[in-house]
Symmetry: C5
Subunit: 353 residues, 5 copies
């Protein structure tokens, strides 16, 4: 949490439509990648500054403008003006902590959602992706400067699947689908982790188990929040049938929804399993504590009667016939061993030891 | 979990519509069974390869194509092309971990759901069944190569019930109905198991009781997930009244829904009973622990006052009149027995022993 | 549970529409009672076999056919054919474990629900009642051969209320109303039982209290399941306004719904109270356990310091001035009593004893 | 619970429409109060018997007939006949344990709800109020013979507010509003009580605290049941816009709904706070128990090592050099005090004492 | 809670439409601020009394009347009459404990909601804001006399953003947006506080931790109640599309809704985290208690066997060979140390110490 971070409250009091970057501050320059293609041609250019940005021809090509980094207010405003993106959408693009949603601005559809990735140490990494779909362009924004969508660009370049034969709505689908597919990694990593945690929990080899379980709980809740909101928006947008998405393409959006529902289900299931892990942890802990107390108490219980017997023959009565006999001491030892043995046998029969 | 298994994340990054088998890898060849029938005639053929597949005549017969095994990408694509099945449906057929659903692809209705069976050791076995219903054909897919639907084929062959007088929509119903009927075995096995577990729990004869209860919980949750999603899809499809299903047949689909609702209810009930078993287990455990501690403490408590009395007469005071008397020792014994007796009587009255 | 019982899974694999009796096997013959009435006339006949069944005249009389016992497949099929009852309805009539529902088969309305009675030992008894309402006939089926609906027949015979002036829809209402009225006994018995249990729980006079509470929980859940499903079906059927029920009669069905809602509310309330009883039981148990341990510990704690004092003067040092004094022994007793007294006073002040 | 009470099950088996009083039996005669008013005139009469009841003129005056007591079957039937009240409404009027509801009988609107009052000892008192609203009359029924609605009558008499200028629908609103306003007393009393209970709970001055908390829980649940059902009915009736209520008056009914929603919210909040009180009580109890055990154990733990030391020098070895030294005894005392001191210091540092 | 406060029940029994101030009594005079502006002009005046209130010209300027303080019944009635505000709205304005809502009074839209602020000690401060939106005026009411909306006035004055080019509906949006933006401070303060509490909880440095957690719970619940009700009202009002709000402005109201949903989500999340804190607290407490008992028991368990050994050689048998040997005493010491060492090693191996 030591990274620099602007929070939503920073915007309180500014007039509506003010563009302020909210979220992690990333020290790198924004870049813009432009891809133009139709069934015949394919072009790909990278620009570093808004000034270099070319005017795009009004042809039947699908145009995909991808902006890496959303911290540069000027650039975002420039892109927004060029493609007539609504000021409120621009605000949401720069607010990288916005909850996922899809909004229909008549001229264009605005998608914002989270890219979820999970590293081997099971820490969830979230990045905001925003996509604006217009008649024949897709403008996408990623928080980080990494080249996440490169595989999709390669698919277009190599004409894999039907992507070159279809419009901007299908490109937009392909981008979202590619991003949502990453969620399966997250879901499966969490499921594997639960299995491992459960095993360890019964072996109790790790001391920080509870903290791992609680970390996982946070990961699951975060993943669920990202999934739920986007799922609901998507389901609404599919129902409303925007004219920007062709009917035959809509079915593909339905397929994403299907994935989201299934991811959501798995996450809910993981959440319950995680809760159940915490329960098991608590009961294991309490069980172990009680067993400890039991063993300690058994030790005490064993010696207290013996001490009593020793106490008997420590009394100073003048007339105690046993004290005078030759084998008295031996017999007392035998008695004490017998008592100890009986108790041990009793404890054993009761399955206490 | 040692079986080979492909997971959903394996598909991340592939272009949409890529056919990849997901789920348990099964080492057996796919086979295809074709049944053609109307009120007069009945034909049944089995094929091993897509190449052998005959061209089916365009007559009024109902055609039922059943594919055993969904790992063969080429075969699935061939079947998909022959019957104009949507690429997304083909993807779902090959993804044997897909959640149950019914989708209306205008030309055909696509059903995918789980066949649930339970073995005597109460392990739930899931298999995915997919069915495509077109105007006068039914194409069904089962994950395994076992001949699960044979009884339905026999019913057709022997003209039992009204199946020969009705169309593909009724055949499709008959297949689903036959599969869902298996759920009752699952529900009843779970219910019997709960009764047995509860009995054992109060007798406490088994050490692994909690693990059995937790296994059962997982079985119930899995069965519920399979049931819930299919129930919802079915209820929606009945409400929408697809033209592929005749109105008089629709009522039979409503009957399946009825069964699913009732299965769902029973499973929910079992889930609550299972949760209640875990509660009882926890409280039984805690009760037993406390009783153990109580008995141990009672033993200590009995001897501590006696040890004190012995301690008194172990003191070395020069002037202790009792020590000189002849019956002092005897009397001390009597006092100690009296104290012990009183305590035992007190504990007994309090119902502690 | 030793009674003979056929379970739903017995039907798996049979072709749809197969009539199989499911539920408790009852060793008695089915009988049929036929009542015909209008404002002027009233007829009542009892038949033992389907063969005796007369052909009913097509007049304006309301016909009420009541079948005792639903195990006789032939009889049920005969009745079904005579009154054109849908095969799926016949299946449900013979499945006495079917969940309550109302189904509109255009030609007739099919009701199936549970008759709940509770015996003085608070065991819930369930019986399935099925009713088919056609234009001017009511065909009712009861699982048992007891003459449950006799009071309604008497009302008709004696022309009590408006029943003779109204049609089959009102008769059907009267039957259901009469059956649902029995639920109030169940609800009130449960409520009384909770009051008794709560009282006993604080007195703790019975050992099997928890088992009584758990039995009651099962009774409540069963009653709730019977109520909920029927309530929902009834509410839907009222909303849909079937032409088989006149508008002025519909309001009476609304009154049954009112009763069901109120019964449902009371049962939900009882369920919460029952859960709260279990909570109280658990906390009472834990309280008592802890109090026991406390008293035991108090006894030990009282004697341990005294034993220490005795131990002091049991030491064998040569130079221990106290041992030589005349009143040493007496003083030690006084000190020990003082210590014991102080501890008891301290424990008392702390309200531990 | 010693008061005489008829329960709902008393009605089971009677033909529909049978008028039976259900609820507390109150030993007092019913009285009828009739108020007639318009902007100019105001009349008020009290009658003791149905026979005295005058025929009311058909003028533009608003007529308000209030009946104290609903046990007199004859009177209720007479009123019902006079104003054409539906038999089912009459049944509900006499069933003083009916859940709140509003029903639209075309000719009139029927309201039944509970008047909630709370006494200083925080016992909830419920009384059923039923109101029938017709074109220009309001017929209200109260269970008790107390003059609860007198303040409203005074408002009419003194022409306070707009009541004299408006119709029966507004009078009906004024009556309900006046009754619902009493709920705020209930809500606030409960909230104050929770604050007091919480304070006492941390001071633990009262022994019957848990029973008070449980009593309060019952009060809250009862108040919630009364509120929820009426709120839902009212919200439905406002949505349906009955012709009996003018549009400008409807907004006032919306205001009652507003109050009910806010009361409901507060009660839900109180319910959660009450549950949280019970939790706190349980944890306080367990905390105190554990502290007790801890102190007792500390006392034992302090003396056990000391007793051991004393035991050492109680041994009878011939060669024990310490026993012969002059200051041995003194040194042992010092050692024992040091051990005791160290233990006390250790316990103190650990914050156990 | 020592401040003077009028509660809702104070109004019970008064005729509907009676204006009574409910809530905290604030000792300061009401003031009125009037702002008039269009794209060209801007005017700002402050008045202290209703008498000074000017008649506002009927021009195309947007008029914003802000009233500080809602305790002055006369002033509220005067404002209400001047702008034709419905009596029920006036009642709600004066009831500063009203739950947030938006109501459409045809002539105007009435908003009432809570301004939430949180001080560094994390105490939530609530203030009620009411806004009446008419065709070209906004009348706003704040409970306190502080100049909360000054920044918005400054924005208008300095023509920041588009506020001067738009109508009253946009001003109303700007006011609500400014107020809701404050919620983010509350949400973030709560989230920070949870992080701090969790850290402290594991360090256990503060004694009043539970009370802080419970205070926070109350804060979260209060904030949630304020948010939920307003969110629902806003969502309904956006759906209904009042003619008072232009379509292009409606999108901005949608943006507020977006914020509210996101705030609501964060608060719900905080609520769960808070509950989880309480759970952790309870388990930490119980863990610590058990550890204490364990250490105490370990001490006792260590000395009880040693005391037994000492007891053995305290016996007075005449024939006890060990007593006579020269090194007997030394050997006993060695044995005792060995026993103690073994036990300590055993406890250590078991990880008890």
């Amino acid at each position: 949490m030591k990274e620099k971070r602007t929070r939503t409250s920073a915007k309180a009091g500014l007039p509506p439509g003010s563009l302020v970057h909210i979220g992690r501050s990333i020290q790198s320059q924004s870049t813009i990648e432009i891809v133009r293609y139709n069934t015949e041609q394919f072009e790909h250019h990278t620009y570093k500054a808004a000034a270099d940005f070319p005017s795009l021809p009004q042809d039947d090509c699908v145009k995909w403008i991808h902006v890496h980094g959303v911290q540069d207010t000027e650039l975002i405003r420039f892109i927004g003006d060029s493609f007539k993106i609504h000021p409120l959408a621009l605000e949401d693009i720069m607010n990288t902590e916005h909850r996922p949603k899809i909004e229909d601005y008549d001229q264009n559809l605005f998608f914002t959602f989270r890219l979820l990735t999970i590293d081997p140490q099971s820490a969830l990494h979230q990045e905001q992706i925003s996509i604006v779909l217009t008649q024949n362009s897709v403008i996408s924004f990623s928080e980080d400067s990494g080249d996440f969508f490169n595989p999709v660009r390669e698919q277009i370049k190599q004409s894999k699947g039907k992507i070159r034969t279809r419009g901007a709505d299908y490109l937009c689908y392909a981008l979202i689908d590619y991003a949502i597919d990453q969620y399966f990694h997250v879901v499966e990593t969490i499921e594997d982790q639960i299995a491992t945690l459960e095993e360890n929990l019964f072996k109790n080899t790790e001391d920080n188990l509870l903290s791992l379980v609680r970390d996982q709980q946070r990961t699951i809740v975060a993943a669920l929040r990202a999934t739920t909101a986007f799922k609901e928006s998507l389901s609404r947008i599919i129902y409303e049938e925007s004219p920007l998405i062709e009917k035959t393409t809509l079915r593909f959006y339905g397929d994403i929804l299907d994935h989201l529902v299934s991811i959501h289900d798995s996450l809910e299931n993981s959440r319950e399993n995680n809760a159940s892990l915490r329960e098991v942890y608590a009961s294991q802990l309490s069980l172990r504590m009680t067993q400890t107390m039991q063993i300690l108490t058994i030790i005490s219980t064993l010696f207290i009667p013996l001490t009593f017997i020793a106490g008997i023959y420590g009394m100073n009565f003048e007339y105690m016939p046993e004290l005078k006999t030759k084998y008295g001491y031996l017999i007392v030892w035998i008695v004490m061993l017998a008592v100890a043995g009986s108790l041990l046998w009793f404890f054993h029969k009761k399955k206490w030891i």
